[in-house]
C-alpha cells in the first residue's frame, strides 16, 4: 500500500458519498475520511519501517509531467494532519442539516483529496493542479452553504477565489519558467536549477505571491476575515485548519529550496512582513465585534508567525513552523467549532449579543477555555512547542524579531481573554444555552486530547520530521 491509496480512498469516497444519497452521505463521508486516516497511519508505519510507500507514474510525456507522490516525513505529516482533521470536521457538521447534503459531503472529501495531493506531489505541475483543485470545492462550500446575506457572501467568496487564483497563477508562471530551464517539474530537479540571482528573485516573488495570498500574509489578507465569517463552519475549518497549511508547507517544500539565495538574501524583509502581520492581526482582533472575524484575525496573527519561522532558514524555525502548523490546525478547528456552536444556538455571531454562557454550560466553557489557552500557547499545549521554537529561531535571527514576534503572547492573551470574557463570562445568561451534547463533547475531547498529549510529548512528531527538514536546510545552505 503506497500513498496513492490515500488519494484513491478520498476520491472514491467523494464519488461514493455523492451516490449514496442525502440520507447516508454524512456517514459515508465519515467512514471514508476515517478510512483515509487509517490508511495514512498505515503508510506512516510502513514508511517508518523503511518500506517503499512512494508512487511513481509518468503522466504526460511532453512536457514531462510525472505523477510522483514521494512520501517523506514532511508530506506524510501534513497528510496525516489533513486526514485526521477531515473526519473531525465531518463530525462537527453532524448536528446541522444541510440542503443538498450529498454534494456537501462529497465536496468535503474531494477537497481533502486535493489537499492531500498537494502535500504529496513532488512534480511541480501536479502539485499546482492539486493546489488549484482544492480551491473549487471550498468555493462552492462557502458559496452555497455559507451564512448571512447572499450578496455580501458572494462578493466575499468571489473575491477570495479570484484573489487566490490570481496569486497561484504567478506560481504557475514560475514553474513554467523553471521548466524551460530544467526540462522537468520534479522538485529535486528544480532544486538544482542553477538560477541566477535575478531569476531567483523573480521566482521567489512568484511563489511568494501565491503563498502570501493563501496564508495570508499582510497586506494580502483582506479576503480572509470575510470568508471565514461567511463560510459555513466546515468551510472555515477546512480553510484555516488545513488549506492555508498548504501554503506554509509549500514554503519549505518549494519556495525556499528552489530559490535559496533569494531566500537568504531577502529573508529579513519577509520575516519583517510576517511579523508585522502578527502584530497587525492581533491588534485588529481586539477591535472585532464578530466572533468568527476575531478568530480569523487571530489566525492571521498565528500563521504570520509560522511563516516567519519558515523564512528564518533555521532548523528550529522549520520545525517550529511544522509543529505549529499541526497544532494550529487542531486548535483553530476547535475554536471555530466552538464559535459555530455558539452561533448555532444564539443565531448570531456578534460578540455583544453573547455573554453568560458559562453559567448554563460549564462543560462547554471549560473546553472553550482550554482551546483559548492552547491558542495563546500556554506551555503543555502543543501550540507552545511550535510557538516556542519559532520564536526561538526568530530571536536567533535577530533579537528584535523575537521581541516583536513575541508580542503575540501578550496581544494574543489580550484579545482571546477579552473575547472569552465577553462571550462566556458575566451573568448575562438570560438566553438558554444548552451544554455540549455527547457528540460535540467528543469532538472537543479529541482535539483537546491531541493538543495536550503532544504538548507534553511532542517528540514523536518532532523527531519524525526533523531529518527531512534538515535535508531541506542542508540543500539551502549548500547553494548559498
Amino acid at each position: 500500500m503506497d500513498v496513492s491509496f490515500i488519494l484513491i480512498i478520498l476520491l472514491f469516497g467523494a464519488v461514493a458519498t455523492y451516490f449514496v444519497g442525502d440520507k447516508w452521505a454524512s456517514k459515508a463521508a465519515l467512514l471514508f475520511s476515517t478510512a483515509a486516516f487509517a490508511a495514512t497511519l498505515y503508510v506512516i508505519y510502513r514508511y517508518n519501517i523503511g518500506e517503499k510507500v512512494s508512487y511513481f507514474h509518468t503522466w504526460i510525456s511532453k512536457p514531462r509531467i510525472l505523477l510522483h507522490f514521494q512520501a517523506d516525513s514532511l508530506s506524510l505529516a501534513m497528510t496525516a494532519l489533513t486526514t485526521v482533521l477531515t473526519p473531525i470536521i465531518v463530525l462537527t457538521s453532524f448536528g446541522n442539516m444541510f440542503p443538498k447534503t450529498k454534494s456537501f459531503y462529497a465536496l468535503i472529501l474531494f477537497m481533502a483529496f486535493a489537499m492531500v495531493g498537494t502535500f504529496l506531489s513532488t512534480d511541480g505541475l501536479v502539485y499546482y493542479i492539486f493546489w488549484e483543485l482544492s480551491l473549487i470545492p471550498i468555493y462552492f462550500i462557502a458559496l452555497i452553504w455559507g451564512s448571512g446575506d447572499a450578496e455580501s457572501r458572494k462578493k466575499a467568496v468571489v473575491k477570495f477565489f479570484i484573489y487566490t487564483f490570481a496569486g497561484s497563477l504567478f506560481m504557475l508562471v514560475s514553474f513554467i519558467y523553471l521548466y524551460t530551464k530544467t526540462g522537468s517539474f520534479l522538485n529535486t530537479h528544480l532544486y538544482n536549477a542553477h538560477l541566477t540571482e535575478k531569476e531567483q528573485f523573480w521566482i521567489f516573488l512568484g511563489f511568494f505571491l501565491a503563498y502570501a495570498i493563501k496564508i495570508p500574509i499582510i497586506p494580502f489578507h483582506t479576503w480572509q476575515a470575510n470568508v471565514y465569517q461567511k463560510a459555513p463552519a466546515v468551510g472555515t475549518m477546512l480553510l484555516s485548519g488545513i488549506m492555508l497549511k498548504m501554503a506554509l508547507y509549500s514554503i519549505v517544500r518549494w519556495q525556499l529550496p528552489i530559490a535559496p539565495q533569494a531566500a537568504a538574501q531577502y529573508k529579513y524583509i519577509f520575516i519583517a512582513l510576517c511579523i508585522a502581520g502578527v502584530i497587525y492581526g492581533s491588534i485588529l482582533a481586539l477591535k472585532q465585534t464578530d466572533l468568527k472575524k476575531l478568530l480569523a484575525y487571530s489566525s492571521l496573527a498565528h500563521v504570520g508567525l509560522i511563516a516567519a519561522g519558515a523564512y528564518t532558514l533555521t532548523i528550529d524555525g522549520f520545525r517550529g513552523a511544522f509543529l505549529q502548523m499541526i497544532a494550529h490546525g487542531f486548535v483553530v478547528v476547535g475554536l471555530f467549532y466552538a464559535a459555530e456552536i455558539i452561533s448555532r444556538r444564539y443565531n448570531t455571531g456578534e460578540i455583544a449579543d453573547m455573554g453568560g454562557i458559562r453559567i448554563q454550560s460549564p462543560k462547554f466553557a471549560s473546553m472553550f477555555m482550554i482551546l483559548v489557552m492552547a491558542s495563546v500557547a500556554l506551555p503543555l499545549t502543543f501550540n507552545f512547542i511550535g510557538e516556542f521554537e519559532v520564536l526561538y529561531s526568530l530571536a536567533q535571527t535577530n533579537i528584535w524579531f523575537g521581541v516583536l514576534g513575541g508580542t503575540t503572547i501578550i496581544l494574543g492573551a489580550f484579545y482571546m481573554l477579552r473575547m472569552f470574557q465577553q462571550v462566556m463570562l458575566g451573568d448575562k445568561g438570560a438566553k438558554v444555552f444548552a451544554d455540549v451534547t455527547f457528540g460535540e463533547g467528543f469532538v472537543f475531547a479529541l482535539i483537546i486530547g491531541v493538543l495536550l498529549f503532544f504538548g507534553v510529548y511532542p517528540s514523536p512528531i518532532a523527531d519524525f520530521i526533523t531529518p527531512d527538514l534538515q535535508k531541506v536546510l542542508l540543500h539551502i545552505n549548500q547553494i548559498n
Binding site: 504526460i60 488549484e132 483543485l133 473549487i136 468571489v158 477565489f161 513554467i176 524551460t180
Partner: protein, 466 residues
C-alpha cells in the same frame, strides 16, 4: 481527400433525402455517416503514421491542391467530432420548422467541408475556396431566421464585413502570387527560402493575416463578433464560436507556418500587439455583459488572443494549438448545449435565465460549470493544460511580457465566468423546470467528458501531431 469528398457527398445526400421524404432518417444517417468518415480519417491517419518515418509527410492530391498530413488530419478529426455534436442538436433546436431540417444539416456539412479544406489545403486557391465555403455557410446560418430582425441584422453585419475581409484576403493572395508566381504552398515556400522577394510579398502576408484575424475575431477586427453571436440563432452561434473559430485559427496557423517560416520582428510585434489587445478587450468587455451569447463572444475574442500566441514560434506549436483548439471547442460545445437548453423558448439569453439552474437541473449546471472552469483555465480540466502548454512554449521564445499579460487576463476572465456560475448556484429559479431534451443532455455530457478526458490524458492529443 477522401474525407472531403465523402462529406460533400453526405451533404448532398441530406438534401436528396428531404426530396424523398426521408426526413426522419437525415440526422441518424448523417451522424452515422460522419462517424464512418471519422473512422476513415483515423485509418488514413494510421496509415500515414505507419507508412512514413518522416514526421510530416506531405501527400498531395490533385496537383497538390489537398495535402494529407498529420496536422490536417488531426484537425479534420476534431472538426468532424464537433460537427457530430452540432448536427445532433439540430433537430431539437429547429423543431419549430422541421421542413428546413435537411437544409440546416446540409449547410453544416458543407461548412465542414470548407473547414476541412482550410486545414488540408496545399494551394492558396483551395484555402480561399475553403474559407469562402465556410463563410458563406455561416452567413446563411446567421441569417437563418428570416422573420427575426436580430437574425437579419446579424447576417447582414456578418456578410458585409465578411465579404469585406474576403476582399482583403484575396488582395493578399494576389500580392503573394505576384511575388512568388505560384499559389502552391510548396513552391511559395521554396521561393521564400531562395529569398529576395519584392516588398509587396510581406504586404500580402499582412493582408492575409488581417483577413484571418477578422475571421478568428481578434481585436481590433473583432467588432462584428459580439453582435453576430448575439443575433444568430443560438445553435449557429455555437457553430461559429467553436467550429468556425477553430477552423480559421488552424488555417491561419497552417498558412503562417508555411508562408512565414522565418517570422520577422515586425510581424511578431503585430501578433503580440493584436494578441494582447484581443485578450484584454475580450476579457474586459465580457465583464459587463448580460447576454450569455455575447459574453461568450467576448470570451471567444480573448481566446483568439491566446491562440494567436502560437504564431510566435510556429514550428513548435502545432500540438499546442491543436490541444488548445480541442479544449476550447469542446468546452464551448458543452456550454452551448446548456445554453440551448436553458434559453429554449425564452425571449433572450440574459444571465438571469440561468438563475437557480443548480437546483432545477444539477447535471446541466454542473456541465456548464465545468465548461466555464475549463475555459477559465482551472486544472484539471483541459482548458488549464491548453493554457499551460501554450505558456510553456511561449516562455521558451522569451516573451515573458505577453505571458504575464495573459496571466493577468486569465484572472480577469474568472470574473465573468463566475458570474454565470454564481447565478446558477446562488439565485433562485423564477420558473418551473423543463425536462432536459435528450440531445442536449447527451451532447453536453459527452463533450464535457471529452474535455475532462483530454485533460487527464493530454498525451493522447499532443501525440497526434508529432
Amino acid at each position: 481527400m477522401n474525407t472531403l469528398i465523402a462529406i460533400a457527398g453526405l451533404g448532398i445526400l441530406c438534401l436528396i433525402a428531404e426530396i424523398f421524404n426521408l426526413r426522419k432518417a437525415i440526422v441518424p444517417v448523417t451522424i452515422i455517416g460522419l462517424l464512418a468518415i471519422l473512422g476513415l480519417n483515423v485509418s488514413e491517419y494510421m496509415d500515414l503514421g505507419l507508412n512514413t518515418a518522416i514526421m510530416e509527410r506531405n501527400e498531395g492530391f490533385y496537383n497538390n491542391m489537398i495535402v494529407n498530413n498529420s496536422f490536417g488530419m488531426a484537425f479534420t478529426g476534431l472538426f468532424i467530432v464537433l460537427t457530430i455534436f452540432l448536427v445532433a442538436m439540430t433537430p431539437e433546436f429547429h423543431k419549430g420548422h422541421k421542413a428546413k431540417l435537411s437544409d440546416f444539416v446540409a449547410i453544416k456539412l458543407f461548412l465542414l467541408t470548407g473547414a476541412i479544406a482550410m486545414v488540408s489545403f496545399g494551394n492558396l486557391a483551395m484555402f480561399f475556396l475553403g474559407i469562402e465555403v465556410l463563410s458563406i455557410s455561416l452567413y446563411i446560418l446567421a441569417a437563418s431566421e428570416p422573420k427575426n430582425l436580430k437574425s437579419n441584422e446579424a447576417g447582414m453585419k456578418y456578410f458585409l464585413m465578411g465579404a469585406f475581409a474576403s476582399g482583403i484576403i484575396l488582395f493578399g493572395i494576389a500580392l503573394i502570387y505576384g511575388a512568388t508566381g505560384s499559389f502552391d504552398n510548396a513552391v511559395i515556400y521554396s521561393a521564400i527560402l531562395s529569398g529576395d522577394l519584392p516588398g509587396w510579398f510581406f504586404i500580402g502576408i499582412v493582408m492575409l493575416t488581417i483577413g484571418l484575424l477578422f475571421k478568428i475575431a481578434a481585436a481590433p477586427f473583432h467588432m462584428w463578433a459580439p453582435d453576430v453571436y448575439e443575433g444568430s440563432p443560438a445553435l449557429n452561434t455555437a457553430t461559429m464560436s467553436t467550429l468556425a473559430k477553430v477552423a480559421s485559427m488552424a488555417a491561419f496557423f497552417k498558412l503562417m507556418r508555411s508562408l512565414n517560416h522565418e517570422v520577422s520582428a515586425s510581424y511578431v510585434a503585430i501578433i503580440i500587439t493584436v494578441s494582447i489587445l484581443s485578450m484584454t478587450v475580450g476579457n474586459f468587455m465580457a465583464l459587463k455583459q448580460n447576454n450569455v451569447k455575447r459574453m461568450l463572444a467576448f470570451s471567444g475574442i480573448s481566446h483568439a488572443g491566446f491562440m494567436l500566441m502560437v504564431l510566435l514560434n510556429p514550428p513548435a506549436m502545432s500540438g499546442v494549438l491543436f490541444y488548445y483548439a480541442a479544449a476550447y471547442a469542446l468546452a464551448g460545445i458543452a456550454a452551448f448545449a446548456v445554453i440551448l437548453y436553458v434559453t429554449a423558448n425564452k425571449e433572450n439569453e440574459d444571465i438571469y435565465q440561468f438563475n437557480g439552474l443548480g437546483k432545477t437541473s444539477p447535471l446541466m449546471a454542473a456541465t456548464l460549470t465545468l465548461a466555464l472552469l475549463s475555459m477559465a483555465g482551472i486544472p484539471i480540466l483541459s482548458g488549464f493544460f491548453a493554457k499551460f502548454f501554450l505558456f510553456s512554449e511561449v516562455l521558451k521564445t522569451g516573451n515573458v511580457l505577453i505571458v504575464i499579460v495573459a496571466v493577468a487576463n486569465s484572472i480577469v476572465s474568472v470574473g465573468y465566468y463566475f458570474k454565470l456560475i454564481l447565478a446558477m448556484y446562488t439565485k433562485d429559479a423564477a420558473e418551473n423546470t423543463q425536462k432536459v431534451p435528450a440531445a442536449y443532455g447527451i451532447v453536453a455530457v459527452l463533450s464535457i467528458l471529452l474535455t475532462i478526458a483530454i485533460g487527464l490524458y493530454p498525451d493522447a492529443l499532443l501525440g497526434l501531431l508529432k
